[in-house]
Amino acid sequence: MIEQLAGSWNYIIVIILMMTGLFMVIARANLVKKMIGLSIFQTSVFIFYISLGKMAGGTAPILDGNPDTLYSNPLPHVLILTAIVVGVATTALGLALILRINEAFGSVEEDEIIAAKASQSLARPKRPTSEAAE
């Protein structure tokens, strides 16, 4: 019973984090905040996986000869190592893009960027200038 409750509250946290992150991704106009939201969202999944593999009272899965030892499942944990790497790469790439967007548009606010796009595409020269090329 206690295990179940203990099992539940981490899932509740996962859900709260997940919803917070997803809300930020969808609702925030600021690109950096979107990125932060995405990170929180991904983190919630990491916690979800780690909780899955964790046995209450379980220890690291190193054989110690005692048949009564409870082991945690290492596989989800390893998977999450990979997922963290992917998450870091995603965040890094996103932030790099934001930097470039800021250079090109002078803003990281989505509504301003959209407005800038419209005004620019009206008066754009035929051959685009390459401020953004580098």
């Binding site: 899955l52 995603t90 893009l97």
Partner: protein
């Protein structure tokens, strides 16, 4: 035995060669060399895919254990008739797109960035091949992200000609990451139920595992994630801008092969992983995927009609065409799935050719191709424009083109299931697609070039790949036996159950 070693390791080669060549390409200072590297990488992949196809033609199923770890402990690559057909289509078009990329990239991408460009290019291609072959649900996520991150880089490189490419890349990154994370959540649930990540094992354990709600949730998350990647309505929103603002070469490659891989993965989720629990799959297919596919067909077509930018127009059209493929797959009958596979191949040919030709226009115009700028281009660039016309006719589904075969088999598959409403909707949408094609062709061929317009120089470097694709559209419209047979085998392999 060198030869035998290569043969048995073909599935790995397909992925490893492009991925390994990528870092070399990144550090190469000379753009031409990097391109040769990319060409070699995609060429080897194409050969490998052709060999795999010939092996699996007789219903053989290759299971390759990475690092000799037995599944379910190690990662398994599976190549059967379904994946080998997808691989041949993807690698073939990938090779042709690379062939065309040289000149287009030289114009749109700074020379010093070319090495990195082709590195990302190879990563996308290699990642997509891995996506198709892997039988490990989590490994699939890794390949998904390799190709997604690399394609974001490629899309963002369009900033050299249009800064909106950055925003398009960013949005694809965020939406794609959310989709991929959804998929991972789903895998987590299914793993919790079955205790395995191997698709075949999942499939065999799911019917007996008392999954309850977790089964539904896991299934839902996995499917939702892949819907994003496959750009199925209404989560297709990243696609038009991404294809529209990416460098021309990238649009060609992505439009021809990227979503195909995700569609194939979707098919495998439905028909391989969840083969043992047909009740949820049936509900999902008939109540969700079919309506979404039809919705996508209409939204894509109508958006294309109102779009003045040519690249974005055909990006919208891709959304519609993906809808046709998804519709075929979602019918879940042998005829429907083979129709889906036929269109996977034919649509790659059609869109590959169309985006290549648009790339040629953009390169000659030095400006975005829009209904205004391509006025009268038919007579100014007849060779490129004729290839474009052929691919356009194929898109409209005229007989003797590949597009006709697709439509024919799709319509027949729909008719077999007695869904007359869907049939009517497909026919109406197909008639609507003539509208935007007509708009483009009319402007290109029937209007005079604006006065004092500069002479346009055609781009012979893309003739070879462009015309190979254009003639391919005719060839596979006249001799459809190969693709129809292969697609039928693919459907058998998919529906046969077990990964």
């Amino acid at each position: 035995m060198m030869g035998a070693a290569i043969l048995t390791n073909l599935p790995a080669l397909l992925v490893v060669v492009p991925l390994l060549l990528a870092p070399f390409s990144a550090v190469l200072p000379i753009a031409g060399l990097a391109w040769v590297l990319a060409l070699v990488g995609t060429g080897i992949s194409f050969l490998a895919a052709l060999m795999l196809q010939s092996v699996t033609e007789n219903g053989v199923r290759i299971s390759y254990h990475l690092g000799n770890w037995e599944p379910p402990w190690g990662i398994e690559f599976v190549v059967d008739s379904a994946s080998s057909l997808t691989l041949v289509v993807m690698s073939g078009l990938g090779f042709l797109a690379t062939l065309a990329a040289r000149r287009l990239v030289a114009i749109e991408i700074a020379d010093k960035d070319s090495g990195k460009f082709y590195a990302a290019w190879l990563l996308v291609v290699g990642g997509l091949f891995g996506l198709v072959m892997t039988a490990d649900a989590f490994n699939l996520f890794v390949f998904l992200e390799i190709s997604a991150l690399a394609s974001v880089i490629l899309i963002g490189m369009g900033a050299g000609t249009d800064r909106r490419a950055l925003v398009a890349g960013y949005h694809y990154l965020v939406i794609g990451a959310v989709g991929a994370t959804f998929y991972v959540i789903g895998v987590g649930f299914i793993y919790a139920i079955t205790g395995t990540l191997n698709m075949g094992d999942m499939a065999s354990r799911l019917p007996d595992a008392a999954g309850g709600a977790a089964l539904y949730v896991g299934f839902g998350f996995m499917v939702a994630g892949m819907l994003v990647k496959a750009a199925i309505f209404p989560v297709h929103i990243w696609l038009p801008a991404a294809y529209g603002y990416a460098p021309s070469a990238v649009s060609t490659m992505l439009a021809a092969i990227a979503t195909k891989a995700a569609l194939y993965v979707l098919a495998r989720i439905f028909f391989t992983i969840f083969a043992g629990t047909p009740e949820i799959v049936d509900i999902a297919l008939s109540n969700i995927i079919v309506p979404l596919a039809v919705g996508g067909i209409f939204v894509g077509t109508i958006m294309a009609i109102y779009e003045a930018d040519i690249k974005k127009m055909f990006a919208h059209s891709s959304v519609a065409q993906i809808g046709y493929i998804a519709l075929g797959l979602a019918l879940a009958t042998p005829a429907g799935i083979s129709a889906g596979f036929i269109h996977i191949g034919n649509h790659a040919l059609i869109k590959g050719g169309i985006f290549m030709a648009i790339g040629g226009f953009v390169a000659a115009l030095g400006a975005r191709a829009s209904l205004e700028t391509i006025t009268g281009i038919g007579r100014r660039m007849p060779i490129t424009a004729t290839a474009f016309l052929i691919c356009g006719l194929s898109l409209a589904g005229l007989p003797l083109t590949a597009g006709f075969i697709s439509k024919l088999y799709l319509v027949r598959a729909i008719l077999e299931t007695d869904s007359y409403v869907i049939l009517a909707l497909v026919l109406i949408s197909s008639a609507l697609s003539v509208v935007y094609l007509w708009k483009v062709m009319e402007v290109m061929w029937m209007q005079p070039a604006p006065a004092r317009s500069p002479k346009l120089v055609e781009n012979p470097a893309i003739y070879l790949p462009l015309w190979m694709v254009a003639l391919g559209n005719i060839w596979f419209g006249i001799d459809a036996g190969w693709i129809v047979g292969a697609a039928r085998l693919a459907a058998t392999a998919l529906l046969g159950g077990g990964a």
